[in-house]
């Protein structure tokens, strides 16, 4: 017997809304729809080829108009009190209640399905954060104008997951939606105005592709660009869906493979073909399946694929190779690769081998095994015996190609805030620079000369040993006023960075697994070591920076206190259980990033170095540090403190040399997970341009003389900002009654 045709639900309300706008949607600027004349227009069609509406492609003039509106919007929005902002978000919740049908129908028409109830949950959650921002996140200030750019395959929910926290924290937002999310995003902006959002606080720019996002980012008023490309969505229930934001790979233990495959076969009997987004996707699916078959994969299909058209049956690909393209770069369509493993350790290795790291789902009745596996998987969220739970209170950090920012929870709010005590990275129009030439100039040659013969030569520190640069070359360190030679330091290069990272990655997992109190003891002993050699270090600050001996000693004292602070912080950086609406246990776990490359600032060379070093190692990271090129001596003198400490050999490495050259080496090393950079504007731009494959978490500061961060302050937000940059968050969800 058959079940009959699927009843298509009515989309009358959405169609009426589109008709009201004459099927051509403009931009949403300054609280109203703007339809500039003579712009390029792009028409949207649904999967059956029917016309949905047309959207305007924004040009430079629209962007600057939008940006200036956003600046005004920011003033009005951030000028409100916390509870006024919370009220607006809550009111939008009830406005959505009234117009829920229109939103969900419009999402359906645009094939970016999103249930209004999920949006309402987001609004409730973030309105509570808006209400309590100044109470619970005291001393942090909104960034200003935030641009949210999403790719075409993102749903409205994913878009809202970025926009709402940014608004809740008091920023104004420019949204650049993908093609399918454009109409719902415009509708959402309109509803926001009805809820009382000041004009300009939320603007929507539509365009033809991602290049619009890049143009918006270059506008100097925009502070933060938040990208979201292909992320988890709460609506996916299984691997076989028409539009999936997650590509699943199934790992099955070898011993039960046959019975699992038998069950899959039985379960898939009678499953119908799934519609693809377009006929072009069909070509990709066919190619992927063919390629997998050539590599020995066995197909399980409920029915044979129709010869052509945008339809494909659910397909399981057994016996895939882990490096097979269908696993590494999944094609669209209902394909599920199945891989086998022998033990859970092997499963973790296979899982972590994948270039993606958004989420994992573990199925086992053994809770100990589940939690152990959850801890060792490098993904943002882990679901035990369930899948696809997403809630705004779960903090999730992307791993590897899935992005590096943390979304959700209190932790996810900090991307839209900066400490009130420091100014955020000032934006300027992009410099024109040639990326391939950055950091390639040769170091000046050193020739024997009467003035520099008897100078002390400092070594670098790799794998727990002081050593010379691989090239054997040295670099002259100049005294504070310039001119002459104060000492020599080794001129490290790419090979030295490589050696340092190799040493660091060996010890980092052990260091991260150590108990927080054991890490604290080690950092305390490092502080004690610094205390023992305070005079030597103070002397090095004195001769390097020209500060008086007293001032130098004060900096050493402050550095000792700072290290003690970090030692105390070791067991204070903690996760917890989260209040998810569903019944079960949700845990958030802070995890170390891995190996962090740090290019140190010039200002307060010792104090800034221990502040950054402490943040990284207290949270379980390993470090490769590049001392300030101008004032390297205090850091190089600190090597003897490191040598006498009981830090694991290789955890902290110091490579001196040309800053730009070493920055390039750090940026291009695939193991390094994060780079903290204090240096030139060109360097910042180079890193933003380069660190996209693989993605690195960047923490950039463009330093200028006589300004920038005050390292001597002991404000709590200084340390908080540091450690929040040094961890990533994982959430684990275990459904229970």
């Amino acid at each position: 017997m058959e079940y009959g045709a699927v009843v298509t639900s009515s989309t009358a309300t959405a169609q009426a809304w589109l008709d009201h706008h004459s099927r051509s949607l403009g931009l949403f600027i300054d609280g109203k729809f703007v339809c500039p004349a003579d712009r390029q227009v792009r028409s949207l069609t649904d999967s059956k080829g029917g016309n949905v509406c047309s959207i305007v492609c924004a040009v430079e003039g629209d962007i600057s108009q939008c940006a200036s509106s956003a600046v005004i919007g920011f003033k009005a929005w951030s000028g409100l009190t916390c509870s006024q902002r919370a009220k607006v978000l809550l009111r939008l919740g009830s406005v959505l209640g009234q117009h829920g049908t229109c939103v969900s129908e419009l999402c359906e028409v645009c094939e970016a399905s999103c249930s209004p109830s999920n949006l309402v949950r987001l609004l409730q959650y973030y309105s509570s954060w808006a209400q309590l921002r100044d109470t619970l996140i005291a001393n942090w200030t909104p960034l200003g104008v935030v641009a949210v750019v999403v790719s075409d395959d993102c749903s409205l929910y994913s878009l809202a997951l970025k926009v709402l926290p940014a608004l809740a924290m008091g920023n104004s937002v420019i949204v650049v939606p993908g093609q399918s999310t454009a109409p719902p995003a415009l509708l959402l902006a309109q509803l926001f105005m009805a809820a009382g959002l000041p004009a300009g606080a939320l603007n929507v720019l539509t365009g033809s592709d991602m290049s619009l996002g890049a143009k918006v980012a270059h506008n100097p008023t925009v502070f933060l660009l938040s990208l979201r490309v292909g992320a988890v969505d709460g609506v996916i229930e299984a691997a076989f869906k028409k539009k999936k934001e997650v590509h699943w790979v199934l790992y099955v233990q070898e011993s039960v493979l046959d019975s699992v495959v038998a069950r899959l076969r039985l379960r898939m009997v009678g499953m119908k073909c799934v519609g693809l987004l377009s006929a072009a996707d069909r070509v990709l699916v066919d190619a992927a399946v063919q390629q997998a078959q050539q590599q020995g994969a066995v197909l399980i299909q409920s029915c044979t694929a129709p010869p052509s058209g945008a339809q494909y049956p659910p397909t399981v690909l057994c016996r895939c190779a882990p490096a097979s393209p269908c696993v590494v770069s999944p094609s669209p369509g209902p394909l599920l690769p199945v891989l086998t493993f022998r033990s859970n350790t092997e499963a973790v290795i296979l899982g972590n081998h994948s270039p993606h790291g958004q989420a994992a789902s573990i199925w086992t009745e053994d809770l100990t095994l589940a939690l152990e596996t959850a801890k060792s998987l490098s993904v943002g969220s882990v679901w035990v015996n369930s899948c696809s739970l997403s809630d705004p209170c779960l903090p999730v950090s992307g791993h590897k190609d899935s992005g590096t920012c943390t979304d959700g929870g209190q932790e996810g709010l900090y991307q839209f805030l900066h400490p009130s005590s420091s100014s955020p990275l000032p934006r300027s129009s992009p410099l024109s620079m040639e990326y391939t030439k950055f950091g390639t100039e040769a170091s000046p040659a050193i020739i024997p000369d009467e003035s520099n013969l008897a100078r002390w030569s400092y070594q670098q520190f790799v794998g727990g040993k002081a050593c010379k640069a691989d090239s054997g070359c040295s670099l002259a360190v100049q005294p504070p006023g310039g001119g002459g030679v104060l000492a020599y330091c080794s001129d490290g290069g790419r090979k030295d960075i490589r050696n340092a990272v190799e040493a660091a990655i060996k010890v980092q997992p052990g260091w991260m697994k150590k108990s927080p109190s054991a890490r604290a003891q080690t950092v305390y002993s490092l502080a004690k070591g610094l205390e023992a050699q305070r005079l030597d270090i103070a002397a090095s600050i004195n001769i390097q920076t020209g500060l008086s001996v007293d001032e130098a000693q004060t900096e050493v004292e402050l550095s000792i206190t700072r290290l003690n602070d970090w030692a105390a912080y070791c067991d204070k950086v903690q996760g917890g259980t989260l209040p998810v609406p569903q019944s079960g246990s949700a845990l958030s776990i802070p995890e170390a990033l891995g190996v962090v490359g740090i290019v140190l600032p010039d200002r307060n060379p010792l104090l800034s170095m221990v502040t950054l070093l402490g943040a990284a190692i207290a949270t379980g990271n390993a470090v490769v540090m590049v001392p300030s090129q101008k004032y390297p001596l205090p850091t190089l003198a600190f090597i003897q403190v490191l040598q006498s400490s009981d830090l694991p050999a290789g955890l902290v490495n110091v490579i001196s040399g040309n800053r730009d050259q070493l920055t390039v080496a750090l940026a291009n090393h695939s193991v390094i997970k994060a780079i903290w950079y204090w240096g030139s504007a060109e360097g910042c731009q180079y890193l933003q341009y380069t660190c996209i494959n693989p993605l690195k978490k960047l923490y950039l500061s463009c330093q200028k003389d006589k300004e920038g961060r005050d390292w001597t302050q002991s404000h709590p937000t200084l340390l908080e900002e540091m450690w929040r940059n040094a961890v990533q968050w994982k959430s684990v969800w275990i459904p229970t009654a």
């Binding site: 017997m1 009959g4 699927v6 229930e237 019975s259 039985l266 009745e365 015996n385 369930s386 459904p735």
Partner: protein, 265 residues
């Protein structure tokens, strides 16, 4: 054809059912859109043909059993069937089901109406099963002697709850033998088994003992057929099929007022 498969206690002891995952799956299934229009009517008619129309009350007499039998022969108003062009398809329920003492009444009523609809009888101390094994076996034999062709037995919940799976297997085998060629269904009384894991184990034991039908409940417990238990039993059946190649049937019990409440509609 009676079949049986050796008791595999190791299998039984290693079974674990993840309650939350089953509940989630049940939610998903319930969230699906149900067929409408002629498809809805077709599935409803199909459901009618699977019903064991039942009266199991203390005040049953020959007159209400008679009415029940007539209803079973013609479950749907003739004019409605005519509109669907189903009036001459011989649509009846699957059987009528009564207490052992009323079997004779049902047989007489059905014969009088020229119907060969099977009569099912509950037995083995229905619904609690708390009577000595000997009387329970005797009950089966007497119901058969009165003309019942289907027997619905209830399992001994005490044995299930205390984990005496081997003893339960033996009891069911004895019922099976007492039934001879009659059609036997096992009622698991899932509402009294405590956990879904026990539901799975009881289903497995019943199938290993050679049952072709497993049934959720008596209709007399506080909780009867629900989606989660139906899922667990269907999965046990699938597993048994994968291991033995035997197909087992699944039966749900309960009083349903509305189409939307029908599990596995």
């Amino acid at each position: 054809m009676p079949h049986s498969w050796a008791l595999d206690l190791h299998w039984i002891s290693s079974v674990k059912v993840n309650t939350q995952a089953v509940l989630k799956r049940a939610q998903q299934i319930q969230g699906r859109k149900i067929p409408k229009k002629q498809w809805q009517a077709a599935w409803l008619l199909k459901a009618v043909t699977c019903i064991d129309l039942t009266t199991l009350a203390g005040d049953d007499t020959s007159s209400n059993v008679h009415r029940l039998c007539l209803k079973a022969i013609q479950p749907i108003q003739h004019d409605l069937l005519e509109k669907m062009d189903m009036h001459n398809k011989g649509l009846t329920t699957a059987a009528v089901c009564v207490y052992p003492s009323r079997v004779a009444d049902a047989i007489i009523s059905l014969k009088a109406a020229n119907s060969n609809l099977p009569v099912a009888s509950v037995a083995t101390g229905f619904p609690a099963g708390q009577t000595p094994l000997e009387t329970r076996l005797q009950e089966v034999r007497m119901a058969l002697a009165d003309g019942a062709t289907e027997i619905d037995i209830v399992i001994n919940r005490m044995l299930a709850l205390t984990g005496q799976w081997e003893a339960m297997y033996d009891e069911i085998r004895q019922f099976r033998e007492a039934c001879g060629d009659a059609h036997m269904k096992t009622i698991l009384a899932v509402g009294e088994l405590g956990t879904l894991t026990n539901v799975y184990k009881a289903s497995m034991i019943a199938m290993m003992a050679g049952l072709i039908f497993i049934k959720t409940s008596t209709g007399k417990e506080a909780v009867n057929a629900t989606y989660p238990v139906a899922i667990v039993m269907a999965r046990a059946i699938r597993n048994y099929f994968l291991c033995t190649g035997h197909k087992i049937y699944h039966h749900v019990t309960g009083q349903y007022a509305d189409y939307d409440e029908l599990p596995m509609a």
